[in-house]
């Protein structure tokens, strides 16, 4: 569906078409909504409310992928076929990893969204990202172990799927290199009774238990960890998800050390964050974990187009403009690393106070971008 949202009063110049391929429906629709709101806010902010770059109005087209890569590829092909040279979106990693190559084959710019897979970084010349990646999560988690990791024991509790395996590998790479012993308790992704795994994680007596968990069994996991009294035995670290998920931690919430990509107000109200919050609030919604990903994507698009004087014809010029670009984003200072298009950004250490519906996050510590930067991956194609 094409939904033109550019402002019409910017003169007669040809519009620039930007395509968004993201989850409008399906299991990730909540993320998709945040992303879209963020993007719109970012577009308004970066174009200073004109909705136009160098006099060319920016026209948005949305394609729903419903979380299905096949639909995403069809949507992307449809947009590219209609002459769109700038794509953004991808709420799910599977989508980003399928759409990225399509963008490269057709030499169009693609800015991946909340998809966290590390593989998106360095995927190809034409693919960028506007969110954080798993490696940055891991680095943030590692920060909880303090300065000296030597001889400490770290256990990763994760699901035995690509996401979980990647997390284990990353923790081994990060903390193993610093001298910690890292082991993993991997539960089958479909397991519903997690009590034994909670028990197993506790029995290993780690100094730090890193929980990398996604999906519907999260509540069951936190219940099991509470019931097996894991919090008394070790420090538990995990990533904080969107606001709707806070109550799922139950009473465990206040005992967990969270690493965080973003929550509303996390950045301490810098000018950009205020702009985003205002815009999103005005649109009748609230910023959440992935709102900045949309906002940042819009900033990147506008910057690239500005550098090319409002033309999207030369993709290489757009790529050039973005590589190495450093700017003020919602979370603070962001840098697009030239070598592999990783987005260097700060991360947060967070605590929850209150339980259930009353749970509120608060920043304990802001981790500077270079402390959580992923290693450079060679560009694949």
């Amino acid at each position: 569906g094409t939904a033109g949202t550019g402002s019409a009063d910017t003169g007669s110049r040809a519009p620039i078409k930007v395509g968004l391929v993201y989850s409008k429906t399906g299991p990730l629709a909540a993320y998709g909504k945040q992303y879209l709101e963020g993007f719109k806010a970012g577009l308004a902010y970066a174009t200073k409310g004109t909705g136009a770059v160098a006099g060319h109005p920016v026209e948005l087209a949305e394609q729903d992928d419903a979380g299905d890569p096949a639909k995403a590829v069809s949507g992307a092909k449809d947009l590219i076929g209609k002459g769109y040279r700038v794509l953004a979106g991808s709420t799910a990693s599977g989508v980003a990893l399928q759409v990225g190559p399509i963008a490269a084959q057709n030499k169009v710019l693609f800015i991946s969204g909340p998809a966290a897979a590390d593989k998106v970084t360095g995927l190809n010349r034409y693919t960028f990202r506007s969110g954080r990646q798993s490696y940055q999560d891991i680095r943030a988690a590692a920060s909880f172990i303090g300065k000296d990791a030597q001889g400490r024991k770290v256990t990763v509790l994760a699901q035995d799927n690509a996401f979980g395996q990647a997390n284990v590998a990353a923790v081994k790479a990060v903390l193993g290199a610093e001298g910690a012993t890292v082991d993993a308790v991997l539960a089958p992704p479909s397991a519903t009774d997690l009590t034994p795994f909670a028990g197993q994680a506790k029995a290993g007596r780690p100094d730090l238990l890193f929980v990398a968990w996604a999906g519907d069994t999260a509540a069951a996991l936190w219940t099991s960890l509470t019931q097996q009294d894991v919090f008394a035995a070790t420090r538990v670290v995990t990533g904080l998800d969107l606001a709707a998920s806070y109550p799922l931690f139950g009473p465990a919430g206040e005992k967990i050390s969270f690493l965080d990509h973003y929550f509303a107000g996390a950045a301490g109200s810098n000018e950009v964050e205020v702009a985003m919050t205002d815009a999103v609030t005005k649109a009748g919604s609230k910023p959440d974990i992935f709102t900045p990903d949309g906002f940042t994507a819009a900033q990147m698009v506008v910057h690239a187009l500005e550098a090319a004087k409002g033309s999207d014809a030369d993709t290489d010029a757009l790529v050039k403009a973005l590589e190495g670009w450093s700017f003020d984003g919602v979370k603070g200072r962001l840098t697009v690393r030239a070598e592999d298009h990783a987005l260097l950004q700060p991360m947060f250490q967070v605590k929850l106070t209150g339980t259930g519906a009353a749970a509120r996050p608060g920043v304990v510590n802001t981790l500077p971008a270079d402390q959580v930067a992923p290693p450079v991956t060679p560009m694949a194609g």
Partner: protein, 360 residues
Amino acid sequence: MTAVLKRWWPLGPLVLLLLAPYSALPLPGLLDGPLGSPGSLQLLALCLLYGALASGYDLLLGRTGLLSFGHALYFATGLYATDLAMLEFRLPFAAAALFGVACSVALALLLGSVGLRVTGIAFSMVTLAFAQAGAILVQRNPGGLTGGEEGRSAPADLLPDSLVGIQHTANLYWIALAHLLLTLAVVHWTASSPTGRVWAGIRENERRVEVLGLRPYGFKLVAFVVAGGLAGSGGVVYLLLTGGATPQAASSDATLALLVMVVLGGSGTRWGPLLGGVLYTWAAHRLGDLATSAAVAGLPAALRVPLSQPLVLLGALFVAVVYLLPGGMARLPARLRSGRTGRTGRTADTAAVPVSEGVA
């Protein structure tokens, strides 16, 4: 005159399909963009692919009476085996495709020869079990091969240049169309072969076939393997169309979708599964647009909420077809012709006599 029309009418739609890539006809509502545009061709190609897959699946369901809940496994095998042959063995595409289809056939032969030892609902559940095992394996990402829930995208450098890039979407469309024609030819030809005649007998009353001196097992296995091979080749085409292998292809939902397509169109009919596959795929892609359109957003909540979920619409559509068009859409013309709707006395009275009664 009408006899000629009756025999040759499929040529009409075929000519239309052959002309599609050269046409700039806008079909507002049906397609988002003109007929020959890459986006439309991509969607059409997917529709044709699923039409072919449903037709191949109906070889089991409608022709032989085998209700398999695991057909997606052979589709996914063709898809992943081809992709991995390129990624891991660096085989060129053609060789990888052959390898992929061969893998599907081999797997269908292996699992079919085990699963067909039981009949009825037990067979359905064994196929479901095998397919579920396959889906779990793909999800588990063994040895980093399948990429788990992220999947693996196809290596563009090993694909022929004429199949890469948006400007070549028409080529993908031709491949999907060719695959469809091949599938239809195989299905129709085999169904009217001596073996197909035995399939019909098995579908209606398996024990009675045995009494004629034929062992149903072998014939069912042939059907299973042919259908598995067709599904595998569908997997290859899917790889080209979507540029990668993702685990959704192996899920039990994928088999269920095939089942829905076949039933929508009309199981056991010549064109029904094709029709069902095309319609379902089209609806699955286009209903999303309807669901998220501005027109829906303006409705009151009681209407907006169901309408904004494509699956609600699809489920409701499916129920409506089952309910109002027994036998699927392909039987609609016949029903209209006979001028009577609603009465289904014959289907009730001629339901297969259970074997236990037949030998009482």
